[in-house]
Symmetry: C2
Subunit: 256 residues, 2 copies
Amino acid sequence: MLTVAYDGTNYCGWQLQPNGETIEGVLNRCLSELMKEPVEVIGASRTDSGVHAMGNVAVFDTDSPIPADKISYALNRSLPEDIRIRKSQEVAPAFHPRHCDSHKTYEYRIYCAAFPMPTKRLYSHFTYVPLDVNLMSQAARYLIGTHDFQSFCSAGAQVETTVRRIDSIKVWAEHGRDDGEDREIVIRVTGGGFLYNMVRIIAGTLMEVGRGHIQPQELERILEARNRQAAGPTAPACGLTLMGIAYADGDLKADI
Amino acid sequence: MLTVAYDGTNYCGWQLQPNGETIEGVLNRCLSELMKEPVEVIGASRTDSGVHAMGNVAVFDTDSPIPADKISYALNRSLPEDIRIRKSQEVAPAFHPRHCDSHKTYEYRIYCAAFPMPTKRLYSHFTYVPLDVNLMSQAARYLIGTHDFQSFCSAGAQVETTVRRIDSIKVWAEHGRDDGEDREIVIRVTGGGFLYNMVRIIAGTLMEVGRGHIQPQELERILEARNRQAAGPTAPACGLTLMGIAYADGDLKADI
């Protein structure tokens, strides 16, 4: 099991694509070379193009004699610098990173200022619209718990159920500097699994709340609608980072 | 006067180069187009290749009728997204951004962890060597005040004097996450002007202190030596960001 961090800027997402470089594609290629046998990883979260990760998870089978905990070091030597293995460990052969019970934590970052900041442009979504963090925080509370999140799921997702569990959502502002007016709003969500674009739709909806277009208590109605049209827009990919994944088995944790 | 922010990753520094794109070159080109006359900016800090800025300063003369405070908006439309004008204002014709009394603030960031973090690689210098922030902070205090900083100046600099004034240096650690072991050490220096590579040599020397190779009190001896060989190595460019410049005239401030 690999704990994988990456800057998603230059990739067409996690999942193998016929045209375009993906995180999965690079991992398969570099691992196959290192292991001297064809390797295909299974990823925990198939993040979209432009989404980043500090702790995604990938597993693979191998007959290689390289000790599990040394694979991270060996693999990092051949990986491009925008992908890094932060940990490698042996897991039970039956372990599947998407079928085992887990908590995933995502952060969505919004940079609020009069002008975009070049050094933040790849990892934060910029807006010059003033946002009320307290309103966003109040609205977020309605999403905590087990709900049908169909309103927060992009069309095209093939899932048996749109019921998911959110354990916590925190919304706060980080000030750039003591005397600055710019700030970064962070939405941190932890849950037992997420639908397609779910965190980005939550972020887009909370931004609508922050600017006063949606009242916090309307989140209840939006959930009940079970209709994508009821929620706000899908916020851009660059603001999203998969922070880590913790599995029910406490030893298995991809976290920074 | 323009307050200029940029991601220095893809530029050969500020100053015009015959081969290679520079911040000054891009500004001159975009401004000349916008003003419909040849424009040449004068920059406050001629940052090196790979160094970033949140608040560098550039001035230029123009006969254009565009109101000074609107130039930022107009210019941002033609600039690449890794350069942004955060403010534009009229200043006295005699104002020269390098010859007027000012305070510049730089930050040097060091990401300390077992493995590099891809999303930090462009804006922080990575090290897996453990650093003692308290020792670095103690050592930094010896540099505050007016000193001959020849030991902290790269060869090749043509300056009349290597005496400079540092008003404050703060060193602190920012933790990545509540439960994470990784952290970012920040060195923030404010002073009345800096020699060539001075902040990067200070950062490299403080890193040597942090790992125990130099004792804090040795900074006194290093200053007295007036010899580049006495100080530590020049830390890499990517960790350095010019945060802002404040001029003695309180209205002139390029700060975030």
